[in-house]
Symmetry: C2
Subunit: 334 residues, 2 copies
DNA sequence: ATCCAGCCTGAACACGTGTTCATATGTCGA
DNA sequence: TCGACATATGAACACGTGTTCAGGCTGGAT
């Protein structure tokens, strides 16, 4: 570490490299552009000088000049449960793998709203929605700026928006049938507030399956997609009329409900079946062994990144709505 | 939705707004700059025209001209467990709250390395490290470009690097003493590979406490900070000489170990104590009720964001190393 | 009448890059 | 010898912004 040089903040530019290598600034730019006419020896000298000085082309200038920004925003919402965070982390990795750099917006509504207004000043190649509450407003702002939107997790019927969404209704309908076949007749549901679009869809799927068997929902509680809210909702439901199956709109709440039933000494699944949705890693743990619906994150990420690439390549591409297949995972709680 | 206009990709610029409002381009810029001389009526007219056209100043041009980029990178690594993902999500929210936009780099080593080279072309105000494996190399690259580094989670002794780190050794030493006071004498440890710096620190704290009581580590296993790896490591250890306490370097592995011991019918904590580190939300659930060391995420995020702000404000500020206090959380597994 | 200070305004510049344009040099075939 | 063509190179431009510069206008004090 001999002689750590503390330079002033000025960044090394192509002009600096040009001077150091004794060439024109144009040559430096060409040295970093494959397939452009440039003497091989000169190119090597430039790259050597660039490495020595620690030069990297300034992305701001390159983008302003007309280059691709490779910036993609992820509007991630509050990420209150592990599934949301896992999806966000997987999206980040997936975007990195295709050479896109995700600008992530998270936190509460007020913070996210303010952040959005500022982030939209950057030339985004796409905006990926994963919020649940502010989606329409965000999509409208993006449309005004010509930023393509990819909504993952809720379907938005707006021009300029691609949708990726798992088959919420089908999954929950399958689950409903499984419970009915297992002899359950009084089915309770724990959903979410109106802003949680998927909760409504999943509820609808369940209700459809029940109706087909001449049944209706025995009880309807509202959670917040967190473990604690599942715990609390289960407690509320137990205070009401009896039921023999508890369908939760996601795994986190199912695990919360499961915990409460165990605390109360109620045998699962003998007296009450408990099922969830998503198939988070925890659902497979022996401690829970939760019957659920698999909502594959890797497929979601692949679909989204593919959509990003195709949209960037062909901005006029027609909008798409892609459904992701889900499947029942039968474990020990139904 | 009458007449959805599908404009060509061109973005609205200040010149467009100027023409629409019948003023000079300078006036438009002034309208968005508080405290600059501009007729009030004219300012209102400009803002109205800007709103109508959907104008936002282009961040690339503004930054290139000399403005703040407000971009901060987070080198997040693979985020294999929920604690890592929670930290990342909290960092994102915290940075948004102070008006910084995080560019997140994640995924496996090869992906992250390639991503780094590209992301460094953007004028970053800071780089936040949260990786575990590639940190030194990343810090070196940043130092070469004059990008301030904030390492959170491991201490890097390099110029230009601020460090934020919880008191790993103290926390595990406290935990060691607690176990010894509880009568444990044969303590096993589940750590991580050498690249997991915190595992080494935590191990050291435990060993120190044991030595002070005239004891040594009974067994030493290697995990990967995931639940599954804790499960597997516990199985390996059970095949060896007996022990009465199992200290895991993080909660995820402790929960994995706990699951295995339950599967084998080994009473916890009667026969074997199991403890972790971090105090993730799951640790408090009745299903686990894990004794652990609280590693406060909110304090970490506050410290990091504060450091970012102070470093941006005063780039020549001396480097700091800030320790975050931890505390024992005594629950039911010790 | 003269000066000055305060407000207001448009032209011009700098930021750093990728690309185009014009020009120069070398090579090959007719 | 001449033209056609590929290769090589520096000057000049455009990208869109924030700020500086120089100047014009207004109103009041000297």
């Amino acid at each position: 570490m001999a002689g750590t040089i503390r330079k002033s903040a000025r960044r090394v530019t192509a002009a600096d490299v040009a001077e150091a290598a004794g060439v024109s600034r144009s040559a430096v730019s060409r040295a970093f552009t494959p397939g452009s006419y440039l003497d091989d020896g000169k190119r090597r000298a430039i790259l050597r000088a660039a490495k020595r000085l620690g030069y990297r082309p300034n992305a701001m200038a390159a983008i302003l000049q007309g280059g691709a920004s490779d910036l993609v925003a992820i509007f991630a919402g509050e990420m209150p449960n592990d599934f949301d965070r896992e999806v966000a982390a997987a999206l980040v990795s997936g975007l990195n793998a295709i050479g896109k750099w995700p600008l992530v917006i998270g936190g509460d509504e007020a913070t996210a709203r303010r952040a959005l207004a500022n982030v939209l000043r950057y030339p985004l190649e796409a905006m990926i929605l994963r919020s649940g509450s502010l989606d329409e407003g965000v999509a409208k702002s993006c449309a005004k700026l010509g930023v393509p939107v990819i909504s993952s997790g809720r379907i938005l019927h707006m021009p300029g928006v691609d949708n990726v969404c798992c088959r919420n209704r089908d999954g929950m309908a399958d689950m409903g049938r499984l419970l009915i076949e297992g002899g359950r007749r009084r089915v309770a549901f724990v959903g979410g507030p109106e802003t949680f679009w998927s909760a409504g869809e999943r509820r609808l799927g369940l209700v459809t399956a029940l109706h087909a068997a001449g049944l209706t929902l025995s009880a309807d509680a509202m959670g917040a997609y967190t473990v604690q809210s599942g715990y609390d909702a289960a407690a509320d439901l137990l205070a009401g009329p009896p039921f023999d199956a508890l369908v939760c709109a996601n795994d986190a709440m199912a695990i919360g409900a499961l915990s409460l039933l165990r605390d109360r000494g109620i045998p699962v699944p003998e007296q009450i079946a408990v099922v969830g949705f998503d198939d988070i890693a925890m659902a497979a743990w022996p401690a829970f062994n939760l019957t659920t619906v698999r909502n594959p994150i890797d497929t979601l990420v692949e679909t989204v990144t593919d959509l990003v690439q195709r949209r960037v390549e062909t901005p006029t591409k027609p909008d798409e709505t892609i459904a992701i297949d889900v499947s029942l995972v039968c474990r020990g709680t139904h």
